[in-house]
């Protein structure tokens, strides 16, 4: 690793001032699982690391007015084990549980997973399907972005120099909804997915037809992405083989995967179709259970 200056501020304002001062040469670091690995491989060489470890107010999982807020410093393990999240947004707790190993999940944070912007990560896929928003701070200002506008390219986000992810907000699903996250892993359980899909389904009051569904895809494009053409086929429909096939084909048309040791591009395109079908089926089943057992 290269030599770098290390700052450990104790207040958010102080951290933002340092990030502004160093601009492009600074990187914020939380758990460091992604950043330190990239620095060890000399893929990034920041002149200054700004540790977020000692900054109060960036942790915690809170819910207000149907929206859950996850602080940037919440670890994957905390999200995975949160009883509240397990009860109200089980798909999100389950998605964090699917990341790497327990060792990684003890260190890796919610904010870090977004700022790293590796399209192979799990949480961004589910967060995208849940219509999450990112709260971004800079010295003297803040802005909020829909997660779909946050990811720009491989390892590239909309964050400008001096900006920091402070928290993420996720709306709870309406009644009669279900969600799922499926990950195709032909090698090991802690690997990145060959194809990952998150889906939500909200049913009409009759419990038979879909009112709205959302589908997000991971590991098949430079960023996680929504399969909007597939989503558009769901409204008003019943779940059957024909619909699953049509949605899978529409999603397959939206992906742009790379050939690598997890599969060829052609294989990943075909597996997108398969995994969209599985994700929708699971989300649909969960929604049907929610209709039978209303909260």
């Amino acid at each position: 690793m290269n030599a770098f200056e290390y700052r450990a501020p104790r207040a958010l304002d102080e951290a933002l001032a340092i990030l502004q001062e160093f601009g492009d040469d600074a990187r914020a670091i939380a758990g460091g699982t992604a950043l330190v690995t990239m620095m060890r491989q000399r893929l990034v060489r920041p002149g200054c690391l700004v540790s977020l470890r000692d900054i109060p107010g960036l942790d915690g999982i809170e819910a207000t007015n149907g929206v859950v807020r996850l602080g940037a410093l919440v670890t994957h393990r905390e999200a995975e084990l949160s009883p509240w999240l397990g009860e109200r947004l089980p798909v999100l707790a389950d998605t964090f549980r699917r990341v790497g190993t327990v060792r990684i999940r003890h260190m890796a944070t919610v904010g870090g997973a977004l700022a790293h912007a590796d399209p192979n990560q799990d949480p961004p896929v589910t967060l995208l399907a849940l219509d999450a928003r990112v709260d971004i701070r800079r010295a003297g200002g803040r802005r909020e972005l829909a997660l779909g506008e946050f990811f720009r390219d491989y390892y590239e986000t909309a964050l400008e120099p001096g900006e920091l992810v402070a928290c993420i907000t996720v709306p709870l699903l309406p009644a009669s909804s279900g969600a799922s996250y499926v990950k195709f892993l032909p090698r090991t359980a802690d690997d990145y997915a060959t194809v990952a899909v998150a889906a939500t389904v909200t049913l009409e009051p009759d419990g038979e037809r879909c009112r709205e569904g959302r589908i997000a895809l991971g590991s098949v494009a430079p960023t996680p992405l929504r399969a909007r053409a597939a989503e558009a086929l769901l409204a008003g429909e019943r779940l059957d083989e024909r619909l699953l096939r049509a949605a899978g084909e529409a999603a397959r048309g939206a992906v742009d995967p790379l050939t690598d040791h997890r599969g060829s591009a052609a294989y990943k395109r075909e597996m997108t179709l398969v995994m969209v079908g599985r994700a929708l089926t699971q989300a649909w089943d969960a929604a049907r259970r929610a209709v039978r057992i209303p909260r």
Binding site: A3, G32, V36, M39, V102, R103, A189
Partner: protein, 156 residues
């Protein structure tokens, strides 16, 4: 660019001056002489460098030493009490939970962390918890048996 950090390692306090880029693993091995933790992959995948930070297992090869400033670190050297091996270490010896031994420090630290929170794990819980601790010799059966044997001792 160095910093003085304070670590509590296996119960003993240390003030160490480290370059900012030093990993926790290198600090333990090179600055404190605790060479039980190994570097395998160097990218947080293989588990040979597993240590506990405030009781939680982490990969010390991708943690900066400065990140551990002010915290409690437990390494494999901290498991035995006086001359008595930790039950997990004894179980690995009795049940043959290792062959070449390079992964063993990480395995026993991870197993101890599991039993700290889950004293009587199922085989499935053991396999899920330990999936990030690679072993190229045992085929894992003996490792699972060793951890079950240590858990049995908890029971008795």
């Amino acid at each position: 660019m160095t910093r003085v950090i304070r670590l509590r390692v296996n119960g003993a306090a240390h003030d160490v001056e480290v370059p900012t880029y030093r990993t926790l693993l290198d600090c333990l091995r090179n600055d404190l002489g605790l060479t039980g933790s190994k570097e395998g992959c160097g990218v947080g995948v293989c588990g040979a460098c597993t240590v506990l930070l405030d009781g939680k297992m982490i990969s010390s090869c991708i943690a900066l030493a400065v990140f551990a400033d002010g915290r409690e670190v437990t390494t494999v050297e901290g498991l035995a009490e006086d001359e008595r091996l930790h039950p997990v270490q004894q179980a690995f010896m009795d049940a043959g939970g290792f062959q070449c031994g390079i992964c063993t420090p990480g395995q026993v630290v991870a197993a101890k962390a599991l039993l700290d929170t889950t004293p009587h794990p199922s085989d499935a819980e053991i396999r899920e918890w330990m999936l990030g601790n690679l072993c190229r010799c045992t085929g894992y059966y003996k490792i699972v048996e060793s951890i079950q044997a240590a858990a049995q001792q908890n029971r008795s």
